[in-house]
Amino acid sequence: MVENRPWLDALTHLVLVVGVLIVAFPVYVAFIASTHEPSAFVRGVMPLLPGDNMVETYSRMLGEGLELAGTPPVWLMLTNSFWMAMIIAVGKIIISLLSAFAIVYFRFPLRTLAFWTIFITLMLPVEVRIMPTFAVVADLGLLNSYAGLTLPLIASATATFLFRQFFMTVPEELMEAARVDGAGPMKFFKDILVPVSITNIAALFVIMFIYGWIQYLWPLLVTTQEQFYTIVMGIKRLMAQTDREPDWNLVMATVILAMLPPVLVVLSMQRLFVKGLVETEK
């Protein structure tokens, strides 16, 4: 459509630039803070231009952590977060692919019951059933373990539903052709269905990885040993130093390090991520 309104175009870009700046501002301030020495925060107002203490702050947090606050090295927490997010994402994708396959491509007694059993988990976020879930995990002896960290979060049905929806749109004839070609159910699953779903799997992986990474309350409850701390909950421990202002430069360095991996995942897989988010949740 031909539309010649230069002032409107200018306004559009102005709004966008201001919007981008507002969104980025807190992170900018945090980054600046992480490059200063602790003494920079005593004078009253936080600095707005970079300091010269960046390398030292980051290498200290990555390498040693903060003993005083009971915080292990950030490197260790990043590794824990990575494995937690990975196990959750991969675990969810595997069990949901299998169960969605069963629900869509088979008809069997109790199918509806199984469907609803899984479905109901959509309505119960972990925050709501936090106490009893904690009790179950404790009874099973899974506190301070990757299994305890991940299993209760793996079970949610979102991925199952997205795969179910997607499988319903896969042409019937594909499965029929495979049957005529002599493929049994698992061969069809492996040779045809999974390869055909690969874009959806990748998109979902991005979303689930982030979901796993940003978990807070659950890791806070089930981990008491430093070796299992995740980065997101570690930040809270770092801040909770009683009786004094936190070491701002160290906290903000940790914040930046905690944000970096998932943000990079989103940015590097932007197309997949947007597709996965918008197309699957609608």
Binding site: V23, L98, F106, V251, M259, V266
Partner: protein, 294 residues
Amino acid sequence: MQTKRSIFTNRWLPYVLLAPQLIITLIFFIWPASQAVTSSFERQDPFGFRTTFVWFENYTRVLSDPSYANALWNTAVFAFGVVAVSMGFALLLAVCVDRAIRTARLYTTLLVWPYAVAPVVAGVLWWFLFNPTIGLLPYILEGFGYDWNHRVSGGQAMALIVIASAWKQISYNFLFFVAGLQSVPASLSEAASIDGAGPFKRFWTIIFPLLSPTTFFLMIININYVMFESFGTIDATTSGGPGQSTTTLVYKVYVDGVAGLNIGSSSAQSVLLMGIVIFLTFIQFRYVERRVNY
């Protein structure tokens, strides 16, 4: 419930395929949830040795407790604030990106990343900016003669968690609004333009009404987000204070259960909260069904 027209006939395989998810669901969802329901009807003595069945006593106590009413009110204010701020801002940006076709991709990149920021981290970032001692924003506000201290003022504490939560949610809302705008056929806007409507009039009379499915969907999602995922934001910034002024329903479940060890009350609150979620989900599904026919 639908399946494919033709199906595999294997008798035991579907059960094997379903087993992993069903087992995990039963152990970590159904069992704890039923525990929550059971203990919401029970009271434990202070040492945890004995439990007695007390019918609806926990519920009546929770519902008549002024602090529960307070949490309910806080949740409503919080939800309204986040929905209004984050969706309004996201819609404005989405409309602009929709106009700026050539640079849309770049702006999108610059706006999507907060999706990946953990709610706690969002809380910490804004808490730092609003820190009464060294924060930048209180310093600026002071210049205008406004005194900011969210450690004292309940209203300011609420404003802080609203801003921090809304900030994180902008990217999500933005992406859906962009998708919604793209699905409005260009011919409609063109027809309105031929009918002599200017860009603002076109937006409010044609495009915004057509976006209403997206808007409604986002409202439900945002309310859900505010109810549960914002836990980290609150815990990192205000810890529900000052004086319970930012204690929301889910935060209260946590405080009463984990910190206060009042299992009966916490469970009753959990069950009430599940009721609210089920209600919201129900609305969402009714609405999704309607949209399919529409």
